[in-house]
């Protein structure tokens, strides 16, 4: 295991946001809001949300995003919102996920969010609260801020098996199935994992090398893998990754150099965090696999 140098913030240059530091009240959740024990002591270190803030800065949406982040944190509590930073090779964009699988917090419902964000980012779609959704998400990027409102929501419903689910996209009063997904332990449930991956309309696994580009070996050393079947693509997600694995992922997927450099510079102060990442998969006519959209996750 590589020991990473701890870089003092002064070496990071001018930042338009104060570095978020860990505190004793931090809670540690993965992108399903499942708690985990930190890999290392978090005392005196940095929070993963610094990566979100840096990405927001690079995308040009830091200023309008900060009040939204603060409003959600004040309403729902610290570390109760999952953020996703996404990259399609050209632009960074973001999604926020609010979980409440047990329907315990009225503020974590669509209705509650509508109230929380009323003056900042009005939520357009209407959702019947009788729908047994366990999570809702929405994009947070430049087009959303330019329009001044959230025009689409995503609702997530659990399957009978609690480790699987479906998502629906809600636009106006319309709702459509967007994708299905299932979480698996990568090694103990390898047969099911392989069967799910290979049951694909989009990826041809007959060349044995293809699987090596989907189940990337450096990410396969993880806690859980999620296989997603989307309308136009397959996706695969890896959760429970170290900062070293995240750095390798950011480099492999050619995230913007300033973001990678920032992550590299503060890596020593993020060694307590488990990260989650996702890759959409695309196969060209020659059989080569590419990743048209990738993402990584944390909480604030």
């Amino acid at each position: 295991m590589t020991s990473l140098p701890v870089v003092h913030p002064g070496a990071l240059g001018e930042l338009p946001f104060p570095l978020a530091r860990t505190s004793p009240s931090d809670r540690h959740f993965d992108y399903c809001l499942q708690p985990y024990r930190p890999r290392r002591s978090p005392r005196g270190k940095l929070r993963a949300e610094n990566l979100l803030l840096k990405a927001l800065e690079l995308s040009g949406s830091l200023a309008p995003a900060l009040p939204v982040i603060e409003a959600l944190r004040a309403s729902l509590g610290r570390d109760m919102v999952v953020w996703g930073t996404k990259w399609d090779g050209e632009r960074l964009f973001f999604e926020l996920y609010i979980y409440d699988p047990q329907k315990e917090d009225p503020k974590a419902t669509v209705s509650g969010l509508r109230e929380t964000l009323r003056s900042l980012l009005p939520i357009g779609p209407t959702v019947a609260e009788t729908i047994p959704y366990m999570m809702v998400s929405f994009d947070l990027d430049v087009p959303v801020f330019e329009s001044g409102a959230v025009s689409e929501l995503n609702l997530y419903l659990s399957d009978v098996d609690a480790h699987a689910g479906r998502s629906y996209v809600v636009s106006g009063e319309q709702m459509a199935l967007a994708n299905t997904y299932r979480f698996l332990e990568p090694k103990r449930e390898i047969d099911t994992l392989l069967a799910l991956l290979e049951s694909s309309s989009f990826i041809d696994y007959s060349d044995p090398r293809v699987l090596g580009r989907v189940l990337l070996p450096d990410l396969f050393a993880c806690k859980r893998v999620c296989v997603a079947k989307k309308r136009l693509r397959d996706g695969v997600y890896f959760s429970g990754l170290s900062i070293e694995q995240l750095l390798g992922f950011l480099r492999r997927c050619s995230y913007p150099a300033p973001l990678v450099a920032f992550a590299d510079a503060i890596a020593g102060d993020l060694d307590h965090v488990y990260f989650d990442v996702g890759l959409d998969l695309l196969q060209d006519a020659s059989g080569a696999i590419s990743y048209p959209k990738t993402s990584f996750y944390g909480t604030f």
Binding site: L211, L215, K223
Partner: protein
């Protein structure tokens, strides 16, 4: 809570390897320290003395190996040898060498007199055509062979090492045939590890479908000649009747820190299903990236016991032959003086339990206790306030993991909790602060590299 590190660095606790310096007169196309040659510094003599002195105080290494670069090029080698020999703390002193300079019988004899009793000689082809193409030094095969003959003449223990690449894969059996006349103690075959060239742009990684038949033929040849072989970095399931020849252990290596940044990681799709999981490294990530997971070629041996996700990779406590396939490697025997065992001696019987195994590697001392069907590992790592621990003694962080086999009444859990607490408190009371476990023995910081003229 499980930890999910990549599987890497299986260290054999009883061997210490010292990199004296990084110069070489060959230029092997697969060289794993190529990036650091003429850049990395060797281990400073004072650092080496410290390691030897520590070994005198707390014996843990039985063998010290000197390597480089080509270590015989270093005049200071004899200072290192003299100190190691004088310490009388090692059973064996080994040289890892290409033996080219040993073509001079006087030099070979001088090394033996200095205390070297094992020569681990790199030989990558059965003849000059193959070997010299790999070393990129015409004449190197003849020089190495002359060196080997001199060692044979002197009665030294000879081991050979062949790194298997696309350049020599078709000549492995011929190498065995050639070397057999030397009556080597062991022939080692190491599958090529891409260190810097992760994408294998040099085309040196051999696909398993080509490598394994050639390797098995070589192992057949060796068996016919009663030559012991050790194979590294190939999946055990592909070795067939030669599965027992696998030996993935590496010694503790005192080397520059950056070396480990490049060290490959390994993985296997079938790890949780395979009986060999605890001893097999399977495929490097670079291999998977180039040739895939070999989903159909690798065949897991059904497990006979539950699989437990390894925290830190494999652990090898001893070079003694492993227990039957899949068994947990053992530490020192019950009747050997063992300060590690003494840390917990007597505790288990007071709790109707037994100490089932003790495994040492560079980073950990793992005690496995059994009580009826229940078992638990109590783990000592280097003391660090930055890492989670149940409790800390003067030298160690103490934690536990793999609490398994508990009954449903809760009685087992309560009894095991008392056992864990007693073990931890006993270690705290007996640890005088002089026992050593390292996270890394590497050299860190500016002293690890040579100064460059600007």
């Amino acid at each position: 809570m499980q930890s999910f590190k990549g599987r890497t660095e299986p260290t054999r606790f009883e061997d210490l390897t010292v990199t004296v310096d990084f110069h070489c007169h060959s230029a092997c196309r697969f060289c794993i320290v190529q990036e650091g040659m003429n850049d990395y510094r060797g281990v400073p003599f004072e650092r080496f003395k410290q390691a030897v002195d520590e070994n005198q105080q707390t014996p843990r290494y039985r063998r010290v190996s000197f390597t480089g670069g080509e270590v015989t090029l270093e005049k200071k080698l004899f200072d290192y040898l003299a100190y190691a020999k004088a310490s009388e703390s090692f059973d064996h002193i080994r040289l890892q060498t290409d033996a080219r300079l040993l073509r001079d019988p006087a030099f070979a004899e001088r090394l033996l007199e200095a205390g070297v009793d094992e020569f681990f000689v790199s030989l990558h082809g059965p003849d000059a055509d193959v070997h010299d193409f790999i070393t990129q030094r015409p004449g190197s095969f003849e020089q190495t062979w002359r060196g080997l003959l001199n060692l044979r003449e002197l009665g030294a223990t000879i081991l050979t090492n062949t790194v298997m690449t696309t350049l020599n894969v078709d000549h492995l059996a011929a190498i065995v045939q050639r070397v057999s006349a030397l009556e080597p103690a062991t022939m080692e075959f190491w599958n090529y590890l891409p260190m810097a060239d992760k994408a294998d742009e040099l085309g040196l990684i051999v696909p398993m479908a080509r490598l394994m038949p050639a390797l098995r033929r070589a192992l057949d040849e060796a068996r016919e000649r009663s030559i012991r072989c050790a194979v590294k970095y190939v999946p055990i399931c592909l070795l067939g009747e030669h599965a027992s020849s696998i030996d993935n252990a590496q010694p503790d290596v005192v080397i520059v820190e950056e070396f480990y940044d490049l060290y490959p990681k390994f993985a296997c799709l079938w790890e949780a299903k395979c009986e060999h999981a605890e001893a097999c490294l399977a495929l490097t990530h670079a291999y998977v990236g180039k040739y895939g997971w070999e989903k159909s070629l690798l065949v897991p041996e059904p497990r006979t016991k539950p699989w437990v996700e390894p925290d830190e990779g494999l652990a090898y406590g001893t070079e003694k032959p492993l227990e039957p396939s899949g068994a947990f490697p053992r530490g020192p025997a019950e009747n050997e003086p063992d300060p590690w065992r003494a840390l917990v001696a007597g505790v288990a019987p007071e709790h109707d339990a037994s100490l089932a195994s003790l495994v040492l590697d560079r980073r950990r001392c793992t005690f496995r206790f059994e009580r009826g069907q229940a078992s638990v590992d109590v783990v000592l790592t280097k003391r660090s306030s930055n890492r989670q621990a149940l409790v800390r003694s003067r030298s160690f962080n103490i934690s536990y993991r793999n609490l398994l086999g508990l009954d449903e009444t809760g009685d087992d859990k309560a009894a095991m909790a008392k056992l864990i607490e007693a073990v931890a408190q006993t270690v705290v009371s007996r640890d005088a602060g002089e026992m050593l476990l390292d996270e890394r023995k590497g050299l860190v910081g500016p002293t690890s590299r040579r100064k460059r003229k600007s």
